[in-house]
Symmetry: C2
Subunit: 455 residues, 2 copies
């Protein structure tokens, strides 16, 4: 693709506030891991003056978003919507030289919060942590919590159908997002933003946009239900010698407590790296597997029954935070070991660690949201072969698993999507894309496998 | 429409088991309330022999469903899918003379149940109560519970996005249905039936079919997550003098307990009828408003704090059942008073009873799932004018409410759908319908307002 013509840039920047593209804004043209630079990234990064091949638009409201998309559809100009740019699959960055970056960050108002129901209506550019801070003094918590909460935006969370550590407690965004306002590629505004718990009126379009990764339109508002904060919680770290013991323990815990607030696990490799690189104290330095789990009921009887031998029950808020940092620090610690290749998959719980077996790399580690069957496999290795990448996804698929549990598809996994979606479903997805975005302007190159790359 | 041609009936009944249409099967051509008879209903009901204008197909498996739909699309034959035929909006019954009835009842196998995760995979024709009975001995309960559980089918529950008394505890079917198998009108089978808690791979097609009321395809399998049964529950009946007191009490309860297992309410009119017609004992015979609510935490301190004056805490399982029958018997009791007209709406909680005010009828009663803002307004009256019907929906819409909280749209509310869905969203819905069902064979006359009837 050639860069975008000057008259288009002129027209678009009249429709919306924009940021002149200089090398200091090059970060909008790649993801934070640096794995998915746009084709124009190097040119922008090394430019000494303004780069004129496309534009970064920062609309202030839904009307401006609508004008942008209408113009883009009419003139077949590709548009990528970018929230906090914290995604892990290259879904929120441009690919083509002429691709317009639409930043949602200026639409960051909290519109209303209902203290009685916990329902918050916010513009898409609101930072997740800002929403968290808004609802917390009223006794609520957001139903989603991510490591990236300080910079990710609620619109991006919804567009990627992000998961995180609260998923086991509060369910997916399909469960908690009550409504959306969306601009479709023709510039029309869909008012799906009702702040009602129950609304059974026709096709659930909001669910179509949840997880559509910017390929069907631009989410401009989100109505989401925050949840009452648990009055009292208990956080425990438990060590195990084998993975089957971990699984048995989870089953016991699920039966005993019914509801778990969190159930995370990691292997010894991850633990050694987090303790070393983040200089943390380890209460259980030598366990092959560790589990961090939170309950609302007193766990003492359970822990006795379960026969857990190595166990630490946090006795203060600061100890709770310390235990959480052992889990939350893992991605950062592994990134300090070298180039990290990541797989975010879900498989039947008892088979999670068999995904991690017999893999080559400088460091091979498995951790994740065990309660949801969601494994994060990380491999530190200077380079990753397509064969190895594919063979891991193929193994997951052969177990009846999903090649993306919570990160989405983006650029990273589009060619593997047929491993998780049958041809008929893919065809329906393509047909829906075509009917909503006939010009194909919304986030091209994401989600759908290109014909030549299908596996 | 003329009846279906004999050669089509012959062809279709070769593709699938069928039931010869006699007057004893006339109930498949109307709903249980008798409000939505098919145009051929009278002819069938009064026929002395077999009626030859259409056919009732009862496919045994997904392949037969696929053949039926393929033939129907090719030959533009309308098809209505019928589960337990317990719906309230005429969504599961034929309208036209030539409309083929596709019964899901023969597809009633439970395929697998995972005792560790609670995930059950079942064919669409399984009765909800059968699934309930299947999971309960293992310590689980279905996430949905309805008065019709003895005859409604899980496929129909999903197609209507049914709600019920467990909604407040477990959320909607969008939260709990993990996957579906669906046959699209062209006969293609979509394998969306993964029994995984997390699967973030492209558009969430299963959510598009949840609540699509048989207009986009036929659901043949459902993977759904059942939930651990609460170890201990407390059920209370509390009486109030005014509705604002009810609302204040709900707010207090939500804050105190965080999670509520149920929170139902009814007015004095409903109570008098249920006590009278079902010959029940009333613990609180003279309260203008009553609330039935269930918690997992001991409520004694809360009840003291709240200052609730009239309160009964169930002290045995049989007393729990007695209290529940005061709520669950209301629809039946009102149906014994005469012809009942029903509105199932959701509005902001504090305005629920203002929907019920100043309405004319022999009996006017409001009850429902207060915790979800879901009001069931019932009016007993010999006839209902279109003006009155419309004015009630218009009032709900003016409050920012939804004209259908949990019953769906079907035939009953299609002309009012524009009160709850803006024109752009309706257009997207129509486009999606057209792309999946270009011949328009699936459940014609449901959900979408006909051009002449739009309000």
């Amino acid at each position: 693709m050639p860069p975008l013509a000057a008259h288009h840039i002129k027209a678009l920047t009249k429709l919306s506030p924009h940021l002149p593209i200089t090398s200091s804004l090059a970060h909008h043209f790649t993801d934070w891991t640096g794995k998915y630079p746009s084709r124009s990234y190097e040119a922008i990064k090394t430019s000494t003056d303004q780069w004129h091949g496309t534009c970064i638009l920062r609309p202030a409201n839904v009307e401006q978003v609508s004008s942008i998309l209408k113009y883009a559809t009419t003139n077949k100009i590709p548009v990528v919507t970018q929230g906090g740019n914290t995604g892990l699959v290259g879904g929120g960055v441009p690919i083509q030289e002429d691709e317009v970056v639409l930043l949602t960050s200026a639409m960051n108002k909290i519109i209303e919060f209902d203290k009685d129901t916990g329902i918050i209506l916010a513009e898409a550019g609101c930072i997740l942590e800002t929403l968290q801070d808004h609802v917390r003094p009223h006794g609520y918590e957001m139903p989603i919590d991510l490591g990236a909460k300080g910079s990710c935006q609620i619109g991006g969370n919804v567009a990627t159908n992000a998961g995180g550590i609260k998923y086991i407690r509060h369910g997916s965004l399909h469960a908690n997002v009550l409504g959306l306002e969306v601009v479709t590629p023709d510039g029309k505004v869909l008012d799906l933003s009702r702040s009602l718990k129950k609304d059974n009126t026709g096709y659930s379009l909001k669910d179509l946009f949840i997880g559509s990764e910017g390929t069907l339109g631009v989410i401009t508002k989100v109505a989401i239900e925050s949840k009452p904060i648990s009055k009292e919680t208990f956080l425990m770290l438990v060590g195990f010698q084998t993975f089957p013991e971990v699984v048995a323990f989870f089953r016991q815990a699920k039966r005993y407590f019914g509801m778990l607030n969190a159930f995370e696990f990691w292997d010894q490799v991850a633990h050694e790296q987090v303790v070393h690189h983040l200089k943390l104290q380890s209460p259980l330095p030598t366990c092959p597997f560790q589990v961090l789990f939170e309950t609302e009921k007193d766990p003492l009887d359970f822990l006795e029954e379960s026969g857990a031998e190595q166990c630490v029950l946090a006795d203060s808020v600061s100890q709770q935070l310390n235990l959480w940092s052992l889990r939350e620090g893992i991605p950062e610690a592994l990134s300090k070991c070298g180039k990290v290749w990541k797989w975010d998959v879900s498989v039947p719980i008892d088979r999670m660690m068999s995904v991690v077996e017999n893999l080559e790399g400088d460091i091979v580690s498995g951790y994740g949201h065990l309660g949801d069957g969601n494994l994060h496999l990380n491999i530190v290795k200077s380079s990753m072969s397509k064969e190895m990448e594919r063979s891991i996804y193929a193994k997951v698929a052969s177990m009846g698993g999903s090649i993306s549990a919570e990160h989405g598809i983006g650029q990273a996994k589009s060619e593997y999507l047929p491993l998780s979606k049958d041809a008929n479903s893919l065809e329906v997805m393509r047909n829906i894309k075509a009917v909503l975005d006939p010009a194909g302007i919304m986030n091209p190159g994401k989600i759908f496998p290109s014909a030549s790359k299908e596996c």
